[in-house]
C-alpha cells in the first residue's frame, strides 16, 4: 500500500533533507517550521501490462475498438511522444514501444500496409536512431526505420505540413501532412505530469511554429495558472480549441499512459525515501555518493546521472476519444502526484535536478534550469501558486553546466545577446522571437542536425513568465553569480544567505515551503 503525499513541518526531530542541485544533491537543514511537500509514494503498477494495453485498445473510451477502425488499404499513422518524456528515461522496454507493438499487431491482422510512425517532437531536436530505437523497441525500429517509415517530425518541412484552417480565435492550425491525411492517427503518449496529453499531443507535438506561436508566448503563459491544470491554463485552452478543429478533420485514436513514481533505481533509491526513514545503508550510500560526486570530473558525473534509467511501473493505460481518455488519465496522475497544501507561503524553495524535458542526454544550461525551476516546478500547482504574490523563490542549481553546442545552438545567442538586453519575456519575445524562429542557420541545424529549433529558448523563457510575473525575488543557491546575474536573478552561497537576501521582500521570519521534488508532485494549494 503506498502512502499518500503530505506536508511535513520541520521540527527538532527532522534530519537534514535532500535537495537536488544539477549533477548532485545536498543535505539542507531547513529552518524550524518550514513546510516540506512530499509526493505520494509509488502507486502499485498494473500486474499485466500487455493485458492492460489489450483491454484499453479493445474497450476504448467513446470510440470503436481499435481493430474495427483498421482496414486494408487505409493510411495509418502512429505518432508518439519524444524523448522529453518520461523523465528520467524509462528502462527498456519503453511503454510506448509495447503499445505500438500491440497496435501494429492489430494493423497487420487487418491487412494495413501503409503505416508510418512519427515522433511528435514539434520544435524539439531530432532524436538519434538509438533514441528512437529505445522508445519504439527493436522490432518496430527494424521494421520501419530503414525504410524511412519511422522518423522525427520536421516542423520546417513546408511540403509536408498541412494547414487545417484557424480556430474561432484565429489561431492557425498547421500540423504534419501525413498525420492530417491519414485515415486514422493513433497517438501514443506518456502522461508523466498533468500538463501532458489531451489535445496537447497532436495539436502541439505535430505542429509547426506557425501554429505553436499562438499559445507559446509570454502573454498566454502568464495566463496559464497553472499549466498543470488544463482547465485554468490559457495555453491549454488554445490547444483544446486547436484540437477540436483537428478532431473534425482527422480521426484521432489517443492512447495515454500513466506511470508511478518509481524514478530512482537502486542504488539511488534513497533519493525517493523519506529521509527520517533512511536505513544505515541509505545513509552510507548517500555519503559515498556525495564524496564520489565531489571529486568526479563533470563528464563522469554527467554520465552517472544521465545513464540512470527509471524503473517506472505502469499505473494505467486508456485509449479512445481524446478528451474522454484525458479525463481518466488525469485522475491517475492526480492520484499519484497530488498533495493537499493549506495556504501559500512567503518563500518557495525548489531543488533543480539534473534533467528536464529538453536536456535528455544533454546539459542543463542556465536557461533550461530556469525553465525547470520557474517553469515546471513553480507551476506544479492547482488552485493558486505555493508562494504568495510578491514572495520569493529560492532555487538550487550551480548554473555551471554550460551550453551543448549540438543540441542548443540558439540558446547560446539567446543567452549572450538577448538576455544581455532584457530578461522580460514579453519584451524579448516581441523584439527577437521572429528573428530566431526564421533564422536559416538554426532552421538548417534543426532539420539536419540534432538542434532544438531556433525559437526554442524563447519558449523556455516564456514557461517561466508566470513565475517571474508572480514573485518579486528569485535567488539561486550555490549558483555562478555571473550567470545568475545574466538571467536577471541573484545568487547566494547558502540557504541562510538566500533568506537574508530575501528579507527585504518577505521579512526576516517568512513562511517557507520546500517542494520535495523529484519524484513528481502536484501541490493542490487551498
Amino acid at each position: 500500500m503506498s502512502r499518500p503525499g503530505f506536508v511535513l513541518d520541520v521540527d527538532d526531530r527532522t534530519p537534514p533533507l535532500i535537495v537536488h542541485e544539477g549533477l548532485g544533491f545536498r543535505l539542507e537543514n531547513f529552518p524550524l517550521g518550514t513546510r516540506v511537500v512530499y509526493p505520494p509514494e509509488s502507486l502499485p503498477a498494473v500486474p499485466d501490462v500487455d493485458q492492460a494495453i489489450r483491454e484499453a485498445l479493445l474497450h476504448p473510451q467513446d470510440m470503436d475498438p481499435l481493430p474495427e477502425l483498421l482496414f486494408a488499404g487505409m493510411k495509418l499513422t502512429i505518432a508518439f511522444d519524444d524523448l522529453s518524456l518520461p523523465l528520467p528515461t524509462m528502462r527498456a522496454p519503453d511503454i510506448r514501444g509495447r503499445i505500438i507493438e500491440h497496435v501494429l499487431t492489430m494493423a497487420a491482422d487487418a491487412g494495413v500496409d501503409d503505416v508510418e510512425l512519427i515522433a511528435a517532437n514539434a520544435l524539439h531536436r531530432r532524436m538519434t536512431a538509438a533514441e528512437l530505437k529505445h522508445i519504439v523497441g527493436e522490432r518496430v525500429f527494424r521494421s520501419f526505420y530503414p525504410q524511412g517509415k519511422l522518423y522525427n517530425f520536421d516542423a520546417e518541412d513546408r511540403d509536408n505540413l498541412s494547414h487545417l484552417g484557424t480556430t474561432e480565435k484565429g489561431e492557425d492550425i498547421e500540423i504534419s501532412k501525413r498525420a492530417a491525411e491519414s485515415d486514422l492517427l493513433v497517438y501514443v503518449n506518456v502522461n508523466l505530469v498533468a500538463m501532458d496529453g489531451g489535445h496537447k499531443s497532436v495539436g502541439i507535438g505535430l505542429a509547426s511554429y506557425k501554429s505553436l506561436r499562438h499559445h507559446h508566448n509570454a502573454k498566454t503563459m502568464v495566463q496559464s495558472r497553472s499549466f498543470m491544470d488544463h482547465k485554468h491554463s490559457a495555453m491549454h485552452h488554445s490547444a483544446w480549441r486547436i484540437g477540436r478543429v483537428i478532431k473534425d478533420t482527422v480521426k484521432v485514436f489517443q492512447i495515454e499512459t500513466t506511470l508511478n513514481n518509481d524514478i530512482f533505481p537502486k542504488p539511488y533509491d534513497f533519493l525517493q525515501k523519506r529521509e527520517w526513514e533512511w536505513s544505515v545503508k541509505d545513509q552510507a550510500t548517500m555519503l559515498g555518493m556525495r564524496r564520489g560526486l565531489s571529486v568526479a570530473p563533470a563528464k563522469l558525473k554527467h554520465k552517472m546521472f544521465h545513464d540512470l534509467r527509471s524503473v517506472y511501473g505502469l499505473t494505467g493505460v486508456n485509449a479512445g476519444e481524446v478528451e474522454a481518455v484525458h479525463t481518466k488519465t488525469l485522475e491517475k496522475v492526480h492520484q499519484q502526484q497530488l498533495v493537499e497544501v493549506q495556504g501559500q507561503s512567503d518563500v518557495l524553495v525548489m531543488g533543480i535536478p539534473y534533467v528536464g524535458p529538453y536536456n535528455v542526454n544533454s546539459s542543463l544550461n542556465p536557461i533550461l534550469a530556469t525553465c525547470m525551476g520557474l517553469g515546471y516546478y513553480f507551476n506544479s500547482y492547482l488552485g493558486q501558486p505555493v508562494v504568495r504574490k510578491g514572495g520569493a523563490v529560492i532555487l538550487y542549481h550551480p548554473l555551471n553546466e554550460g551550453f551543448n553546442q549540438l543540441h542548443h545552438p540558439s540558446y547560446v545567442d539567446f543567452y549572450e545577446e538577448v538576455l544581455a538586453e532584457s530578461t522580460d519575456p514579453a519584451v524579448v519575445g516581441e523584439k527577437y522571437e521572429q528573428q530566431f524562429a526564421e533564422d536559416p542557420w538554426y532552421r538548417h541545424l534543426y532539420r539536419t542536425s540534432h538542434a532544438y529549433h531556433g525559437v526554442h529558448p524563447f519558449y523556455m523563457w516564456y514557461w517561466a513568465a508566470h513565475a517571474m510575473d508572480h514573485v518579486d525575488e528569485v535567488i539561486w543557491v550555490g549558483a555562478d553569480r555571473k550567470v545568475a546575474s545574466r538571467l536577471g536573478f541573484r545568487a547566494a552561497s547558502t540557504l541562510a544567505d538566500a533568506l537574508e537576501m530575501a528579507s527585504g521582500t518577505v521579512g526576516t521570519s517568512p513562511s517557507i515551503t520546500y517542494l520535495h521534488n523529484p519524484p513528481h508532485l502536484l501541490a493542490h494549494v487551498r
Partner: protein, 313 residues
C-alpha cells in the same frame, strides 16, 4: 595534501558529522512529529534470547553484572533496599511486579536481589524496543537477562510462560512503558495472567527515585549519586476462584501500598490500607509540571548517608 584531496577529507568529515547528528547515530532515530501518522507499522524482527538462559551466558552475565554493572551502578547511585526478608518465605520462581519510571529500574531490582535469586531472574523487555537490533538484543540479554514480550498486542508471546516454566523468576513492569512523569500508570493484566496460569506468587516491588535520577530521554544518570529506594512486599497468590481481572488490581494496590510505605512508615501505610485511604499512585491531578516537579526530587533515605558497609547493599 593537495586541495581536492583535502576537500574530499574535510568535506567528508563535515558530511559524516551532519549525518551522525541528523540521524542520531548511536541513539534511537526519530520521526518528525508531523510525519508520525504516516509511519509504516514496524516489521517484527525479534531476535531470539534463548541462548541467554544457558550456562555459558549465565556465567558471562555473572561476570558482567558483578564485575561491570554493579560497580558502575553503585558509582552513580545510592540505594536503600528493604523487605528482602519476604524472599525467605517464598519458594521460587516468582513474578516480581514493579512500577516503571526509568531504565535504572531493572538494574536496581536485579542488583537488590540476593545473588541466588538474581542468577535465576529474567526480565520481560519490550520486543519492539530491546530486541529490534541484534546488538541491543545481545546487550540487554547479556546484562539483564531480558527476554522479549510483545507490548502492543493483547496477547503475551509464548516466551514468558516458557521462561517461568523453566524455573526462572520474572521481573515484569505491568505499565508496559516507562512513566513520562514519574507517577505510576495503568497496570496491564499480563503479570496477573501469568501468575494465575502458572500458579506462582507475585512479589510486589515499589521503588522511588529512579525517575529523579534518570528520567525518560536521559542517557545517563544525573550527577551526584542520587538516592534510590526499593521495597519488596509480601507475596500475593491468586485465589482459586479469583479471576485475572480481580487479581490484577490487587497487585497494583500492593505496589501502591508499598510506595506509600516507602514514603512514610509501615504502620501508617497499614492504617491507610485498612481505611482505604492509600494515596493514588498515579499522582495528584494537578498541572503536569507540578507532577514532574514533585518526582524530580530524590527520596531522602531515612538512614544516615553513610550506613555501616555491612548493611549497605
Amino acid at each position: 595534501m593537495s586541495t581536492p584531496a583535502k576537500g574530499l577529507v574535510t568535506g567528508g568529515i563535515d558530511d559524516v558529522r551532519q549525518v551522525a547528528r541528523g540521524w542520531r547515530w548511536g541513539r534511537r532515530s526519530q520521526v518528525p512529529r508531523s510525519a508520525e501518522e504516516f509511519v509504516l507499522p514496524a516489521k517484527s524482527t525479534v531476535f531470539p534470547s534463548d541462548w541467554s538462559r544457558r550456562k555459558p551466558a549465565i556465567a558471562a552475565r555473572e561476570v558482567a553484572q558483578k564485575g561491570g554493572l554493579q560497580p558502575l551502578f553503585r558509582s552513580v547511585s545510592r540505594t536503600r533496599v528493604e523487605g528482602l526478608d519476604v524472599l525467605d518465605r517464598v519458594e521460587g520462581p516468582v513474578i516480581f511486579v514493579a512500577n516503571h519510571a526509568s531504565h535504572l529500574d531493572t538494574p536496581l531490582i536485579l542488583l537488590s536481589l540476593p545473588d541466588e535469586w538474581r542468577r535465576r531472574t529474567a526480565v520481560a523487555a519490550a520486543a519492539d524496543y530491546f530486541f529490534d537490533t541484534w546488538w541491543r538484543a545481545v546487550g540487554s540479554s547479556l546484562f539483564f537477562n531480558t527476554f522479549p514480550i510483545d507490548r502492543r498486542g493483547g496477547t503475551m508471546a509464548a516466551t514468558p510462560g516458557e521462561v517461568l516454566a523453566d524455573g526462572w523468576s520474572l521481573v515484569i513492569f505491568p505499565e508496559g512503558t516507562r512513566s513520562t512523569d514519574g507517577w505510576m500508570g495503568k497496570f496491564r493484566m499480563g503479570a496477573a495472567f501469568l501468575a494465575k496460569e502458572y500458579g506462582v506468587p507475585v512479589v510486589p516491588v515499589a521503588h522511588r527515585g529512579t525517575f529523579a535520577a534518570m528520567p525518560r530521554g536521559q542517557g545517563w544518570p544525573s550527577k551526584g549519586r542520587r538516592q534510590l529506594t526499593i521495597r519488596f512486599g509480601e507475596p500475593l497468590v491468586a485465589g482459586a476462584d479469583e479471576s485475572v481481572r480481580d487479581f490484577a488490581p490487587r497487585i497494583k494496590d500492593a505496589v501502591a501500598a508499598l510506595l506509600d510505605e516507602d514514603r512514610s512508615t509501615w504502620w501508617e501505610a497499614r492504617k491507610r490500607v485498612a481505611a482505604g485511604a492509600v494515596p493514588d499512585p498515579s499522582g495528584p491531578q494537578v498541572a503536569q509540571w507540578r507532577r514532574v516537579w514533585e518526582q524530580t526530587e530524590s527520596p531522602e533515605a531515612d538512614a544516615p548517608t553513610r550506613r555501616i558497609s555491612a548493611w549497605r547493599r
